[in-house]
Amino acid sequence: MSGQREVAERGRRLAVALFDYGVGNLHSLGKALEHAGADVLVTDDWSAALAREVLVLPGVGAFAAALEALPDDRTAIVERIRSGMPVLGICLGMQLLFDTSEEGEGRGLGVVPGRVRRVRAGVVPQMGWNEIEMGEDPIFEGLSELVAYYANSYVCEPRDAEDAIGWTECEDDRFAAAVRRGSIVGVQCHPEKSSTAGRQLIANFLRDAERRVRAGAEAAR
């Protein structure tokens, strides 16, 4: 029985797919998700990933290289995400949620309308800890302030301003630090590298995702 049809019972661990593009470090992110109570499957197989309850797109690598890990026909992925599968895209993984990127050829998943552009700053990559101005969203629950680790040369520009739920300033640039569109969440920072506060953000995302999965299962009954 596939994870998506299972009813999320209280106390059962949320079935999370951590997608592996084959390049970067997934250990810290995997451990952070596990510490927050998730049952993590690291996989490079999209059908296995989509059969889980929650999808996490990690954030290491170049845009074009990550696109190579996407199948030619993305219909199944896009449909599953649009039907309410909670998604957390981190850094590059956030950028993949958008339509296009200045960094490379090809189209992203397009589940959050907008584009990816280069950071407008003298020193690029933006490398280090930076403050996130937090909007109202469950992923920021209990965080009075959030200084998170960034390592990026590109940032997302959502078409719909209300999709942005957090902002960060880098030199004179101000960009969407986090977006939400329904069950889809993207963060430009690396919460798995942002010490205690980052792990709190991951735990918050999972708690909200679990609520959504359970509500979806209730509605389907």
């Binding site: 810290s28 690598g61 020193v123 490398m127 800890w129 200084v147 680790y149 798995e192 010490s195």
Partner: protein, 259 residues
């Protein structure tokens, strides 16, 4: 606003943290996994492993050390030492490193930086510059742990590394390393003002004021230190408290609690 970073460096040999004592031998300082986690808890913004294993066995041990570290460490981890080609980068990243620093291999063939950046993104490729001041006031770049002098001007070479794809410069002053009289601020400023990627100042940290000077006068994005912490002369928390007192906007130090 991007916060100036405090980076803690650990010399790792055959899976242990070591420290040289007057060049007469290496003293065992402990388990890299435990020490890395302890420094995160003390407020370190980043950890750097410099692998000084010479043997193949040592390299294998390094991958295992990185893997075990990445499972308990939730701040970025840079790993340097012994990278010979772009093919050596992938396994370290897979094992759990966030950034890889390269020195000698880039001098032999700078395309290791370009290829590394193409495959994994510039943000994880660090060019390590070991610079020593020459009689004419310029700085020369050295390889092989500071033993081999090249004919490269260190400042120009740093710029060239950035052009070739490095996303960060780890800049060590050989003259200041271990002396604890402060970073080479002139060198740090010369490189920071020349390149448009972040520069990590290294070599010479003896007290909090040295870090402040590296940021404010040296224009460094990060300051790396080792000895004064390993010997227990101060802690990252104490350094950050002093920096905050001088209005250097480091990431606030809070005792980490496991969520």
């Amino acid at each position: 606003m991007l916060r100036p970073r405090v980076v803690v460096c650990l010399d790792v040999k055959d899976g242990r943290v070591v420290k040289g004592v007057n060049f007469e031998g290496l003293r065992d300082m402990g388990d890299p996994v435990e020490l890395a986690a302890r420094y995160e808890a003390e407020g370190a913004d980043e950890i750097c492993f410099l692998d000084i294993s010479a043997s193949h066995e040592g390299r294998g041990t390094l991958l295992d050390t990185v893997r075990r570290t990445a499972e308990v460490l939730f701040v970025p981890l840079t790993v340097g030492g012994g990278i010979r080609s772009a093919d050596d980068i992938g396994p370290l990243l897979r094992a759990g490193a966030d950034k890889i620093s390269v020195n000698s291999a880039a001098v032999r063939d700078p395309s290791v930086l370009t290829e590394g950046a193409r495959r994994y993104g510039a943000q994880c490729i660090v060019a390590s510059i070991d610079a020593a001041r020459q009689d004419d006031g310029t700085w020369r770049h050295y390889t092989h742990g500071g033993r081999t002098r090249t004919d490269l001007d260190a400042v120009a070479w740093a710029a060239s590394c950035a052009d070739h794809g490095a996303g960060e410069i780890l800049l060590t002053s050989i003259d200041r390393d271990g002396v604890r009289g402060g970073y080479d601020l002139e060198l740090t400023r010369a490189v920071s003002d020349r390149v448009d990627v972040p520069v990590v100042a290294s070599g010479g940290a003896g007290e909090a004021a040295h870090l402040r000077d590296a940021f404010l006068e040296g224009h460094a994005s990060a300051a790396l230190l080792a000895g004064i912490l390993h010997e227990g002369l101060t802690t990252v928390g104490e350094l950050k408290a002093a920096l905050t007192g001088w209005n250097v906007p480091v990431r606030p130090y809070r005792r980490a609690t496991s969520p």
